[in-house]
Structures are given as C-alpha cells and as structure tokens.
C-alpha cells in the first residue's frame, strides 16, 4: 500500500512535467491546428538558458534563494518566448497559406535543426552537464513515504500555470482573439483581429511554458544535454492527444495519466522495459475508442 502511494507521488511529479509540456503542444494546436514538434527542443533551450543564467543570478542574489529561482525561471521563459516567436516568424509564417502537412514537416525539420546545431561543440556540445541547484531541496518523510520539495513544487506550478492559461484564453481580450483565430482565421482577420500577432503571442506563451517545464525537469534530474527534450516531448505529445488535443485541462489530465502509468510500469519487474509500449498502447486505445481524446469534443469538419 505504502509503495503504491509512493509510486503515485512519483508519478504525479513526472506526470505534472508531461502535463506542462503538453499544455504548450495543445495551445499551439488549438490556434494553428498543427503540432509544433520543435516544442521539445525549446524545452531543452529553456533548461540551458537557466544553466547559463543561474550563476549570474546567484552572484546578484546569493545561492539558492527563492527570489533567484523565480528570476531565473522568468528570464529563461522570456528568452524561450522570444525563440518561440522567432521560430514561428522564420519557419512557419511563410507557410501560412500552404497545406498543413507542409508546416508539419517543417516543424520536424526545425526540431532536427535545433538538436543538431546545439550538439555542435561550438554551440552547446553534446556532453551532459550538471544543472545547478536553484532551490534548496528538502525531503519530507512520513513513515516510509518520502515526498521531495520538487515533487510538491512541480504539480503546484503546473496547476497554477493551467489556471493562468485558462484565464488568459477565456477571460482576456487576447484570449478571445486566440479563440477567434482558432475558430476561423479568415473571419477573425475580417473582424479586425491581428491574426499574425495573435499567433506570435500563442507561440511565445507556449514556448515560455516549455522553458518552465524544462527547468523543473532539470531540477528533478540535474543532467542536461541537447537531446534531453526528445523523450519527455514524445510522452507529452501522446498526453496531449490522449487528453484531447486543443483542450487545456485535457492536456494536464493526459500528462498525469501517462506519468502515473509509466511510473507504475517502471516499478514492476518485467514491465519496466515496456514503458514506451504502454504509453503508445494507451494512445492507440484512445484513438480507437475516443478519437477526440478524453476531454476533447468531436467536431465535424466541413470539407
């Protein structure tokens, strides 16, 4: 029983990271109807931004302070937001009027471009580096149960950001514009919505989320390298589809589900090697029986 609860805690910690990444996938999909495969690489860039920022912030604010950690996260998120908008401007905007498939393949290209450029020694190099400690870590023990401060921090941050995203999308003018663009780009632009600016904003927001996810992920496992985003990115993509792509709470639900199931599988001898198979198995089942995802609503596309 205790082991089950411990695995649940582990799974929540991991699942929240997937959820955070999945939020980024789903937001971009919601507005543009395509999967931004470069999202997982922006996550890696966020972790590296924090890696380079942390020593500077530490000099100014002292080691492992809460203010310092928040500052690092905000700066890294801002950097990644700019990178995200730049990617959109350079790679996706010129293809706005092309078929969706063209953009999708470009996204894969952008992802590979970032991964391989960063692996060059002149850029980041492909060696694993030690991620600095941003916050003092503490473990709380209840009998045999151990809850780390990061295990608490990650789900809390994820829920806060989910709330913030929901507020932005549902309650602000920008959010209304985002929903309008998502519904019908042409009609939105006829109503005076600056479509390009709204899409840029969506990319910035999604990339900032990726940066936060990257930093939290690196706090859990402090070894960072240019390919670190690939594996969690893939899981988060599955999570977004399972939860119903385009749906914000669905992304979080999917992320938690994948994270928890993966953790339980990882702890069972004989099954620990089949974690990827389990994640993809769920994806196939969902696509078979509930193609729109757990929380997605089936929409009829007019052809």
């Amino acid at each position: 029983m205790q082991q089950t609860i411990q695995q649940l805690i582990n799974g929540l910690g991991l699942g929240s990271i997937y959820a955070l990444i999945a939020l980024g996938y789903t937001m971009v999909y919601g507005v543009l109807r395509f999967i931004n495969f470069a999202h997982s690489d922006v996550l890696m860039l966020g972790a590296f931004a924090a890696f380079f920022l942390a020593p500077m912030v530490e000099k100014a604010l002292g080691p492992q302070s809460v203010m310092g950690a928040i500052l690092v996260i905000i700066l890294a998120a801002a950097i990644c937001a700019c990178i995200g908008m730049l990617i959109e401007f350079l790679a996706y905007r010129p293809l706005r009027k092309r078929p969706k498939l063209t953009v999708l393949i470009t996204a894969i290209g952008v992802s590979l471009f970032i991964e391989f450029t960063c692996q060059n020694d002149a850029v980041l190099g492909s060696a694993t580096r030690s991620f600095p400690k941003l916050l003092p870590e503490k473990q709380f023990t209840f009998g045999n149960l151990v809850i780390g401060s990061t295990d608490i921090l990650v789900p809390v941050v994820t829920l806060l950001l989910l709330g913030a995203m929901w507020l932005i999308v549902q309650k602000t003018r920008v959010g209304t514009a985002m929903r309008a663009v998502s519904y019908n780009q042409q009609a939105a632009s006829l109503m005076g919505v600056p479509v390009n600016r709204i899409i840029s904003f969506t990319f910035g927001l999604g990339s900032a989320l990726a940066a936060v996810a990257g930093i939290l992920y690196s706090m859990k496992a402090p070894g960072i390298e240019p390919l670190m985003g690939v594996q969690p990115g893939l899981r988060a993509f599955i999570a977004a589809v399972v939860g119903g792509i385009g749906n914000l709470p669905g992304a979080v639900l999917g992320g938690l589900l994948i994270g928890i199931l993966e953790t339980f599988a990882g702890g069972i001898p004989g099954l620990s090697n089949y974690r990827d198979a389990i994640a993809f198995g769920i994806l196939i089942l969902i696509l078979l029986f509930k193609p729109a995802g757990l929380l997605g609503r089936a929409t009829i596309e007019k052809v």
């Binding site: 205790q2 082991q3 411990q6 695995q7 582990n10 799974g11 910690g13 991991l14 692996q119 020694d121 190099g125 492909s126 060696a127 694993t128 580096r129 030690s130 870590e137 473990q139 023990t141 151990v146 780390g148 992920y217 859990k220 496992a221 402090p222 070894g223 390298e225 390919l227 670190m228 594996q231 969690p232 993966e262 953790t263 339980f264 599988a265 990882g266 702890g267 069972i268 001898p269 620990s272 090697n273």
Partner: protein, 380 residues
C-alpha cells in the same frame, strides 16, 4: 586541339601512377593508425580520456624514434556516442585514409559495431576498454587491452558478498547497453553461486532521467546494496534520486562509472558508493606515477582516469606488436598482437589469452568526500 586530346589521358595516367606509387609506400614516411572514440555525446569523457592517453603514447613513441624507422600518424574520428556512427568512422579510416590498424572504443556496443568492418578488411583492431566478451568474438583481428566482464562480474559478486557483506541485492540494468546487460549477467551467475539472493531486478533505458519508479520498488525490497552496471551519466542521476527516496544502502557498479562527470552531476549523492575499474591514479605503482606526471604535464594538470591509461596502453601494445612483427601487414600484425606476453602496461602487467582478451588485475574504488579512492586490487 589534337594535342590536348592526347595530353589529357597521359596526364591522368601519370596522376594514377603517382597515386599508386604512394599507396605502395604505405602512406609515405608515416605509419597511419586510426582511432575512433566518443569525443562528444553521452559518454564524452570516455572518448576524450582514451584519446588523450593514446595521444600521449603516440607522442612518446615518435619522440623515441617511432616504429620500424617511421613515425606514427594518428587519425581520429568522433562517433558522438551514437549508435551507427562507429561503422561510418571506421569505414572512412580504412578505405579513405588507409590506416594499418584501428584503436577504439570504450563502450562495448560501439566497439562491437566497428569490429566486423575491421575483421572484413583484415585490419587489426585493439579496443582499449570494451569489456563485453562478444567484442573479440567477432573475429581474430579484434583484441583488447582490458579484462572482460566474466572476470569483472565475478569480482564484483565476490566484493558484494565479501567486502559489503551483502547477500540481498537489487540490480538495475540499462537494457540499451550490451556492456550493462553482459556485466549484469556475469555478476548474477557468480553472486547466486556465492549464495546471494537478488531481491529485485529492474531495467531502465540509457538516457532516461527519472528512475524513481524503479528505485521505489528497489527500496521496498530492502536490499543491503544495489548493483548498477551502467554508464556514468545515468548512474549519477540514479544515485541522486536514490538518496532523495531515502534509499541509503551503497550502490556499486563496474568501470562504466569511471568519469569525473559522475562526481560533477552526482555530487554528494555519490559518496559511500563503490565501483570496479582497470586501475587507479593513486594505486602507487612506479609506472602509474610516471604516467600521471606525464599526463598532468601535457593536459594542464588533469588527473588521468582508467580510460586514459587504457588508451595509452592500447597504443603502446600496438607499437610493441609492430616492432615484433617487423611489418604493418594485417595478418602478421594480427599474429604479433595475439602473441603479446607479459606486456608491461601502465595499468599493470598483462598477456593476451587465446580469445585475445587481456588477463589482468582490476581495482576497487570507493567514492569519499567527492573523490575516487583506491581501495583494493583483485588479481585474476
């Protein structure tokens, strides 16, 4: 116009002749030796260290007048620690650069990948530090300057039941690595024969970042120690997360742990853990002390690790075999390497057995106060 038509083929023929005569001379006045290593990527310190050791050896050989009256020219290729790249690297070294022998790699999976290319081209290959038995089983042109995993696995099993007095052990294996799976298998055989029990056996994929799922189950099995036959980037994260979960028993593993990055990432979580490796910079033999001094002088005061020592030994072994064979021809060089007896390496004195594997001692290292400390030597 007519003259040109004649001149062109003639020119081409003379260039071809020039090229051929160059080939016959065996690449001019230098002996070309190829090296492939993981200079970047996940196991970057393995390749960097073995490369630096090899570099130092080549420099010393050339300073001493070279081999067979010629200098050795080292050509190095990086495989970025990636599967698939080693075959390309070795193909290029052999067919484009025309090397007479190949040195490399540390990781068994990647040596295993390159070995068939060397075997097919009849080019002798010496792996400095791949311990999985299957590497030299590829063919008679492949040999190694290190011990193999049946020996290392058995030594680790004896260490567990002897030094650690642990009879209940959990094991966490990297299913992506031939090295990890091989070492786990040989450890298990000996450990069970010693009367120990494996309470938990779990897997991970090299490159994973979250090991809490496996570690929770391991903790629940109440082992006295955890055997982690993996590579350093993963082991460091495993150690950190084990500490976070309150798993306070020692972790121990094999020579895949040997890297300063293990301590950079793992920090204080690594203290109190053990691993076996080929040699230790502080083991105190005269050859080792001289090597450490020379290495520090060349590489800005950096302390060499076992991979650097083996890189050095493998190059020295090759030079020694070339001298004995008095030629760089593949078959004769192969036989000379295989006949190596009582070779005085920095890592210790060793001979090659009939499988062309070095028979030599291993050492145990304990991690204390963020440093590797030599604790014991185990003779074969």
């Amino acid at each position: 116009m007519k003259i040109r038509h004649f001149a062109l083929p003639a020119l081409a023929a003379s260039i071809a002749a020039l090229g051929l005569s160059n080939c016959n001379k065996g690449g001019g006045d230098a002996i070309k030796v190829g090296e492939f290593a993981s200079l970047t990527g996940k196991e970057a310190t393995f390749g960097t260290s073995s490369h630096e050791g090899t570099l130092l050896a080549v420099e010393e050989i050339n300073a001493g007048g070279g081999v067979l009256g010629k200098k050795i020219q080292l050509l190095t290729e990086d495989n970025q620690s990636k599967p698939g790249e080693s075959t390309n690297a070795v193909n290029k070294l052999i067919s484009k650069d025309g090397v007479v022998a190949v040195l490399g790699e540390v990781a068994s999976s990647r040596s295993f990948e390159a070995a068939p290319v060397c075997q097919d081209n009849k080019i002798p290959m010496i792996s400095p530090a791949s311990t999985n038995p299957s590497v030299t089983e590829v063919g008679d042109y492949i040999s190694r300057a290190c011990f193999t995993d049946p020996f290392q696995g058995a030594a680790l099993a004896n260490f567990a039941t002897g030094e650690l007095k642990a009879t209940k052990i959990a094991m966490l294996t990297d299913v992506k690595s031939d090295y990890s799976k091989g070492l786990a298998k040989f450890f298990k055989e000996k450990f069970l024969a010693n009367g120990g029990t494996l309470v938990t056996e779990l897997d991970y994929n090299g490159g994973d970042k979250d090991f809490k799922a496996q570690l929770t189950t391991i903790k629940n099995g109440n082992p006295q120690a955890v055997f982690v036959p993996g590579y350093y980037t993963d082991v460091a994260l495993i150690a950190i997360q084990a500490k976070q979960l309150g798993l306070s028993v020692p972790l121990f593993g094999g020579d895949g742990w040997e890297s300063s990055v293990l301590l950079d990432i793992g920090k204080e979580a690594m203290n109190g853990n053990y691993f076996s490796t080929h040699c230790a910079a502080d083991q105190g033999t005269p050859k080792m002390t001289a090597f450490v001094d020379a290495y520090k002088k060349k590489f800005n005061g950096k302390t060499p690790d076992a991979m650097a020592v083996l890189g050095y030994d493998s190059a020295m072994l090759l030079a020694d075999a070339m001298k004995r064979a008095a030629t760089t021809e593949g078959p004769k060089l192969r036989d000379a390497i295989a006949a190596t007896k009582d070779f005085e390496g920095v890592s210790g004195k060793f001979s090659l057995n009939k499988n062309r594997d070095a028979v030599k001692a291993l050492v145990f290292i304990k991690i204390e106060d963020g440093k590797f400390r030599y604790t014991a030597t185990v003779n074969p």
